[in-house]
């Protein structure tokens, strides 16, 4: 047979290697930063300035310094930067690194198109860099792991499609008949992420402005929540699991120098995993206003997921059979063993957390992030570290600079995981159980929500940040080791290889050829079938929830937000308040006692997007309306520790200084009308008077409660003259109007007399 020579593209692999390492350090650094803010909320004050005499800020500035940041160091914004860095930048680039290396070699060809490879590389880095900038400036859609505004969503989609086209092009010019299972995982990942990304990010921009992008989700309330967590859960499945499994099926056999334990099992693993995973999303919404049947389906399928996940884990671990002696010396294998073990732990824990019993305790607490961190940093992180330690020497034709250093990284990072995971588990259980405690007289034992937070910040949160710092230290050792390896090695951008040409055969199924064997040489069909496998679960849950009206009974007394409240809601989104505050009261005795009447699906029909949140570092806000006076909210935003001693909430002085931008209220409402929110002609005519009236009432109520504040504003008015912005025109007032509106559409008395319209037809 004729031998052909060709060249592997090592340059793109090298670039993805650098990107992976760079973003790893960034993700870990931001992780440590947000973990620190959880027990040291005054950190921004110490850096930028404060009016508190006991705080000496770095630059000696006053509160104006902090206000001038406009929230760039707010927890809500930094958290989404951290998650984007960890999920898309670190793990994303790590997947591309492994995929670009392994695909060329598994298919014995260069990547389909160099141009597409480079567009993919730079497009992806651009997306991450722009995410950083846009999140810092408060442009986000609030939907977890999909906070990117519409221009970035388009960029992601385009880059992703180019990546897929490049993969398929590579596959078509391959010199190997069959596709190895790792490549199925890559293709499955590509199909599923494309579907999830597009459907979850369907949104209408209020304008085409790229400088200040703003959009509203196509779905509202319950439906938005379902689509979001169908996406959110499957981002875990198809960004953090299937691509890494593809890497596992290639790099573990490589490093152990023996074939995978059972190839049969890997096929079962692939198909059952992608088929079952997609159904499990609703377990993020147990006990919420989501229709019960969807919740039940989510739980059922989550438990079923245990089977394929553990099948895959065992397949990975057993690949090392007969090589265990090498695990002791070889840092690469050590990383792989812990990674696969973490995969097993996380996929055992996931189904457990998806049961209603444990979900009741764990949901909204630190238990969930603990679980995610085992997955992302234990399973994905260690898999990627192991891969880098194996791949970097190969790429630079040398040996790893220091096995000792790699071993040190391994131990420090393992300890780091323990140091943050254990405190997070304990914090989760502590908080979850404290919420539920009652006194004998029927009152809540910890009636003040703060008690369940202050107990966590003394030891558990600092320990967690320390664990993160250890993990980051490990990352620094990786940088040093890889850098030293590169220095002593030499790298060939285009590595020569040769393989026999692939004889063209008909795409028709040969006589006596097994159906799946045939399927594997038909990449397009394989991709389509994986799409069908992932689409079924989504379709069964989502289509009925969206088209069946009776799933979300309409409540007559629920009306759209007023213009001022709508602006306040957008401020809530801008600051990322939903990172710590939920808006979903579950139907439990303790929650109803603590927050008020449990949340009804019909209350969210105008919520584009939904803001249920996923964690309670602060109390639920769904019945916040009317609970505290306007002046309390004013003071609370100025300094949360003034009204709530020991609070871990950041300060928001810029909300009090900034003038509310009303220029877009009109188009925001028009966009809402397009989405089905029934604003009437007269609502548009009266935008300004309505806003003025509502704002004035809030200003008056604040001044009535605090006459000193009134004097201060009057003084400021005299000093500033024409430049003075009255309190009623500032952002804080819009935010207060929104907070005071929350959950007031129905009250317990009213609910009984409310007519429920819509009977299911």
């Amino acid at each position: 047979m004729q031998m052909q020579t060709f060249k592997y593209d090592n340059k793109i692999v090298k670039y993805f290697l650098y990107a992976t390492i760079f973003w790893a350090i960034m993700a870990f650094t931001f992780g440590v930063l947000v973990a620190t803010l959880k027990f040291f909320p005054e950190l921004p004050d110490y850096i930028f300035g404060s009016d508190d005499g006991s705080i000496r800020s770095l630059f000696g500035g006053g509160i104006e310094g902090l206000a001038a940041t406009n929230g760039k160091m707010g927890f809500g914004r930094l958290r989404m930067i951290h998650t984007t860095f960890a999920v898309f930048a670190f793990v994303g680039n790590g997947f591309f690194l492994g995929a670009y290396y392994s695909m060329q070699r598994l298919l014995k060809t260069r990547m389909g198109s160099d141009l597409m490879s480079w567009i993919h590389f730079w497009g992806w880095q651009l997306f991450i860099a722009l995410s950083l900038v846009s999140f810092l400036y408060g442009f986000n859609t609030s939907k977890e792991y999909a906070e990117h505004e519409w221009p970035l969503d388009i960029l992601i989609a385009v880059v992703w499609i180019i990546f897929g086209a490049n993969m398929l092009k590579t596959i078509y010019k391959r010199r190997v008949r069959h596709l190895y299972v790792a490549i199925w995982f890559y293709l499955g990942t590509w199909t599923a992420v494309a579907m999830l990304h597009i459907f979850n990010n369907l949104e209408i921009p209020i304008s085409w402005s790229l400088a200040a992008p703003k959009s509203y989700s196509l779905y509202a309330g319950v439906q938005d929540a379902l689509v979001q967590w169908w996406y959110g859960h499957n981002a875990v499945a198809f960004v953090l699991t299937t691509p890494i499994l593809g890497l596992m099926y290639y790099f573990v056999p490589k490093a152990a120098n023996r074939p995978v334990f059972s190839y049969k099992l890997s096929i079962i693993h692939f198909w059952s995993l992608i088929f079952v995973y997609i159904w499990a999303g609703p377990h993020h919404l147990l006990y919420t206003s989501l229709p019960a049947w969807v919740q039940a389906v989510g739980t059922g399928f989550s438990i079923m997921l245990l089977a394929p996940s553990w099948g895959g884990m065992l397949n990975g671990l057993l690949t090392l059979r007969g090589a265990w002696d090498r695990v002791r010396e070889e840092p690469v294998l050590k990383f792989f063993v812990v990674a696969i073990t973490c995969y097993g732990m996380a996929t055992f824990e996931g189904p457990m957390l998806a049961t209603k019993t444990l979900n009741k305790i764990g949901h909204f607490t630190d238990w969930v992030p603990a679980h995610v961190h085992v997955g992302t940093l234990g399973w994905n992180g260690f898999m990627i570290f192991g891969m880098i330690y194996w791949l970097a020497p190969k790429l630079f034709n040398t040996k790893l600079a220091s096995n000792k250093l790699a071993n040190a990284h391994f131990w420090i990072a393992t300890l780091g995981i323990l140091f943050w995971v254990i405190p997070m588990y304990v914090a989760g259980w502590t908080q979850g159980l404290m919420w539920q405690q009652f006194n004998e007289d029927g009152t809540l034992k910890y009636g003040n929500f703060l008690q369940t937070v202050t107990i966590l910040k003394d030891w558990l949160y600092p320990m967690r940040a320390f664990g993160g710092a250890l993990y980051l230290t490990g990352g620094v050792l990786l940088v040093i080791n890889v850098w030293r390896t590169i220095r002593k090695g030499s790298y060939i951008p285009n590595e020569e290889a040769e393989a026999p040409a692939l004889v063209k055969i008909s795409s028709a199924r040969k006589k006596g050829e097994g159906a799946h064997t045939w399927l594997e040489r038909m990449p397009t069909l394989l991709t389509i079938l994986s799409f069908v496998a992932v689409a079924i679960g989504g379709a069964v849950e989502i289509i009925p929830t969206i088209v069946v009206k009776s799933n979300v009974p309409t409540i007559a007394s629920v009306t759209p937000y007023t213009p001022l409240e709508l602006e306040g809601r957008d401020l809530f989104i801008r600051e990322g308040c939903n990172a710590c505050h939920t808006q979903m009261i579950r139907p439990f005795r303790d929650e109803v006692k603590r927050y008020g009447e449990y949340s009804k699906p019909g209350e969210y029909v105008y919520d584009h997007p939904f803001l249920w949140g996923s964690q309670r570092s602060g109390p639920d806000l769904h019945r916040e309306g009317g609970k505290n006076p306007d002046a309390w909210h004013y003071k609370h935003m100025w300094d949360p520790r003034d009204t709530s001693p020991g609070s871990i909430m950041p300060r928001y002085p810029w909300l009090i200084f900034n003038k509310l931008d009303r220029s877009k209220t009109d188009i925001k409402m028009k966009t809402m009308v397009k989405l089905g929110v029934p604003y009437q002609e007269e609502d548009f005519d009266s935008i300004t008077p309505s806003m003025n009236k509502q704002a004035l009432a809030i200003e008056q109520s604040i001044f009535e409660a605090d006459s000193k504040l009134k004097e201060r504003y009057e003084k400021e008015a005299k000093e500033k003259g024409d430049n003075f912005v009255p309190l009623r025109d500032r952002e804080i007032v819009a935010l207060i109007s929104y907070l005071q509106r929350l959950g007031t559409d129905i009250s317990t008395e009213q609910t009984e007399t409310t007519t429920i319209i819509g009977t299911g037809k």
Binding site: L106, V176, S272, A497, T517, A533, S550
Partner: protein, 58 residues
Amino acid sequence: MLNYFKEAFTDYEHAQTLQTISLLLFVAFFLALIYFIWKRPKEYYKSESELPLDDDQN
């Protein structure tokens, strides 16, 4: 387009049929998977699983 199928979903009479079909499809999926896996020759698995190991010279 969705509206066209809406009746089939919203109608409670169809609910049972839909559920039964879903269950059968679900079971069929795994039966088909197992069937395909069993039917394939041993050598296939051997050669496939060795793909990563003989893929390059370095």
